[in-house]
């Protein structure tokens, strides 16, 4: 017994010594380079200062997407168009004499995978042109602001993400978009003081941010908002629509998903509630026009967005090359959102390269100088991280014949109320 006892003790001692000795040559040991040590190539490329994600031959970008979870359609569109964009750029000689590479991680809207994937890619990329899932962007926000300082384009339009110098959204936030939508209802559908606006909104930051905008607009215009909060899993909107009908609303604002929009339009038409319906940009998908709700949607339904529809002439080149690369894919506005996002990042990278500073810091500085960036139908201003990149909103209308299912109803415009919306 004692023999057996003695053995592990000595083994443990020997092993400890060995382990401590091995520690000395760990690959993780610090070599004064810090975060951006590995990618640096200062001598070979002359004056150009480079950092994480940039080597002498490659610029690596990261994409945190959701292709297996609730935002699978959006994630697929964005990822595919960004892959296509990367190939186009590389075909045309790359950027800063380097090829672009896109590292994609599919987190399936799972927080464990999302946080892990961000932390895995983060040390090796220059920027993230895609990050789906506003809760996870919020989760890493402190880390981004304090240590990582990596530019991120988040595919979200909620005001709670404003204010970080590194996290960028392309387009108006939901509050501004909703204000412009209500302004449109006033100018074209004759809503007036004393009217009630019904709003059906998701619990969570999308719906609640839109509600803030609606309440501000209603207050300014002397109207009132009748809110109906729903969960993303609620799909039958009969109860909500009849509640709004009983309140006698003059219009309905939808800050929910496409399924809810289809149900609302269908139920309202069946119940004889003949009021204009307008949704935020996430409330429509071209697939809806193949459902029974199509006649109702074509009749009295609008969408507020910060970009032209994919079927517009201005987006024809993108749509054509997208369909050439992915013949089976559906054209939706995720394609444009993804395209815009990576275009902005590469444009900033080009500027940063010209300034001789192709680093995260250089990219962020370059982004700040982009105050008149031409998007599709609207102009973006990235100079102030505390404000959305634009206050303009395009009003779209479903159209069964247009690619992507939507056409422009009213060109981009800013309402006076949106301009006065206070932002702390």
């Amino acid at each position: 017994m004692s023999r057996i006892r003695r053995l592990p003790a000595s083994a443990v001692a020997a092993a400890t010594a060995l382990a401590l000795a091995l520690t000395a040559c760990s690959s993780k040991a610090e070599d004064d380079g810090g975060d951006n040590g590995s990618g640096g190539g200062d001598g070979a490329s002359g004056e150009l200062e480079t950092g994480a994600g940039v080597t002498d031959t490659t610029i690596t970008l990261g994409a945190l997407t959701d292709m297996t979870g609730p935002y699978a359609t959006l994630g697929a569109s964005i990822t595919q168009v960004q892959q296509m964009y990367v190939e186009e750029i590389n075909g045309a000689g790359g950027i800063c004499e380097r090829e672009l590479a896109l590292e994609v991680r599919d987190h399936g809207y799972d927080p464990e995978k999302a946080i892990s994937a961000y932390n895995e890619l983060q040390p090796n990329v220059l920027a993230f042109p895609q990050f789906i899932g506003s809760p996870y962007v919020t989760a890493v926000k402190d880390q981004v602001d304090s240590t990582d300082m990596v530019p991120i384009v988040a595919q979200a339009w909620t005001a709670s993400l404003l204010g970080s110098p590194y996290i960028q959204m392309v387009g108006a936030t939901y509050d501004v978009e909703t204000i412009n939508a209500i302004d449109f209802l006033v100018s074209e559908h004759g809503l007036a003081e004393g009217d009630k606006i019904g709003q059906i909104y998701f619990e969570g930051d999308y719906g609640e941010n839109a509600l803030e905008g609606a309440e501000y607009a209603a207050e300014q215009l002397g109207m009132s908002v009748v809110g109906q909060m729903i969960k993303p899993t609620d799909e039958d909107m009969t109860a909500q629509v009849s509640a709004l009908a009983q309140e006698g609303v003059s219009a309905i604002v939808i800050s929910a998903g496409p399924r809810q929009a289809a149900s609302i339009a269908g139920v309202a038409a069946a119940a004889g509630l003949n009021v204009p319906i307008i949704g935020n940009n996430s409330a429509f998908a071209p697939q809806l026009l193949a459902t029974e709700a199509a006649p109702a949607l074509l009749n009295n339904f609008y969408i507020a967005a910060s970009t032209l529809p994919i079927g517009d002439e201005a987006a024809k080149d993108i749509a054509d090359s997208y369909l050439a690369a992915y013949p089976d894919a559906t054209l939706d506005n995720g394609v444009l959102a993804g395209y815009n996002a990576i275009e902005i990042i590469t444009e900033a990278a080009r500027l940063a390269c010209d300034n001789g500073k192709l680093t995260r810091e250089g990219l962020t500085e370059a982004l700040r100088t982009m105050s008149g960036f031409p998007g599709l139908g609207v102009t973006h201003d990235f100079s102030d991280p505390a404000n959305p990149s634009t206050l303009e909103t395009v009003i779209l209308k479903p159209d069964a014949d247009a690619p992507g299912g939507m056409v422009v109803h009213r060109e981009a415009a800013v309402s006076d109320i949106a301009g006065s919306f206070p932002r702390e």
Binding site: L22, E30, Q80, P111
Partner: protein, 391 residues
């Protein structure tokens, strides 16, 4: 004996964080002869070597592996709790994620400072941690009148209500939970140690939050596992098994069945609460959507895959269920037969989901007693082969 140590020398892909150090070492070893002595020796050495590897990992493994390992450790703590309830006492719970949420949000509430939108009590983090675990226990205690009276699947249905109540509260009690986007998790600090992202050099290796939390996770897991083993090996453990196997017989023998069921439910909630705190510390932000029904089902999967009723099984199952999706997500692009997104084949994300599903089915199909039976199954097969050879 140098075999496991050389492994520590080249860590990244070959040494994923496997925390089964607390696993009891399988069935009985074949007795007698020199071979038997070697076995005995090995059985004593293996846990020590495993513990050493775990202790040395933060010096070698990338942050990705450490984070994955921490998720696995937190899951293991929660799974041990659920296994006490479901595996050992035969009570089904579908509300485990609710108690994880109580622990996670409880810690944020007790340790957090009020910041205008959310309330916080600003207590010392270590005290907040203890209080959060106690709060989860209290929540379990409030439910114990129900937990004590209902059995098996009926309790499962009743606990389902907790998930829905929990989700509603998490999304809507904004000053407590921060709503949809959650609230930031205060950094754990005690005795001058701070588990934050500030780089601290230890033997030349920069330690950030994950490296520091790794050791906290090991300590919590080891303590939780030892306590559970203690419970299971003593009088209460036998009483719990008696209740699971024959409730009426247990009652006749003088075991207060309702009180035991209630108490086990409280204990299991406290394990979940501790797991919640550790998870929150790793995430650095609590997100309400995480604590839903699918998380509760994942925990059930862990204990079934690992092995019902044993602490080692819970730990193994938690490691399996947590690590496989992480590994598959990371390496999905280099798997065979995978096509780039949008080209019509199987996309990396889908492939990893499919493989994960297949792994779960395979584990349940070929190891009905759980992963914890793997050494036993292998040994039996080896003996059978030897017997056919000699005969």
């Amino acid at each position: 004996m140098s075999e496991p140590l050389t492994k520590t020398g080249n860590p990244p892909p070959s040494a994923p964080a496997a925390p089964p150090s607390a696993a009891p070492s399988g069935g009985p070893a074949p007795a007698g002869s020199g071979r038997g002595r070697l076995h005995r020796r090995l059985r004593r050495l293996l846990p020590a070597a495993g513990a050493l590897i775990l202790l040395a990992l933060p010096f070698y493994a990338e942050a990705f592996w450490l984070r994955a390992g921490l998720f696995a450790m937190a899951a293991a703590i929660g799974a041990i709790g659920l296994n006490l309830l479901t595996g050992s006492t035969g009570q089904l719970s579908l509300g485990h994620s609710f108690f994880l949420a109580v622990g996670a949000y409880g810690y944020c509430l007790f340790a957090g400072d009020p910041d205008g939108t959310t309330t916080g009590w600003g207590l010392p983090p270590l005290l907040a941690m203890v209080l959060a675990v106690a709060l989860a226990g209290v929540a379990g205690g409030l439910f114990s009148p129900i937990a004590g009276r209902l059995r098996g699947a009926y309790l499962g249905i009743a606990t389902l209500a907790l998930i829905f109540i929990g989700q509603h509260v998490l999304f809507n009690a904004k000053d407590l939970t921060g709503g949809f986007n959650g609230r930031p998790v205060p950094v754990l600090e005690f005795l001058g140690l701070s588990f934050d992202n500030e780089k601290t050099l230890v033997a030349g290796v920069p330690f950030t939050a994950v490296e520091k939390l790794w050791y906290l996770g090991l300590v919590l897991l080891a303590a939780g596992a030892l306590f559970a083993v203690g419970v299971l090996k003593s009088r209460p453990g036998r009483a719990m098994n008696a209740i699971r196997d024959h409730r009426i017989a247990a009652g006749v023998m003088g075991i207060p069945v309702a009180r035991y069921r209630g108490a086990v439910f409280v204990l299991s909630s406290m394990y979940a609460g501790l797991a919640g705190v550790l998870l929150a510390l790793v995430f650095q932000r609590t997100v309400p959507g995480y604590f839903g029904i699918s998380l509760a089902l994942t925990y059930l999967a862990m204990i079934v895959i690992g092995g019902l009723g044993s602490v080692g099984g819970a730990v193994l199952g938690a490691a399996f269920v947590t690590l496989i999706p992480q590994i598959l997500t990371r390496y999905s692009e280099s798997l065979p037969l995978i096509s780039a997104p949008g080209t019509g084949g199987v996309a990396p994300g889908e492939a990893s989901e499919l493989l994960y599903g297949a792994a779960v089915v395979a584990a349940v199909l070929f190891l009905p007693g759980g992963l914890v039976r793997l050494p036993l199954v292998l040994r039996m097969r080896r003996q059978a082969r030897r017997r056919t050879k000699t005969s």
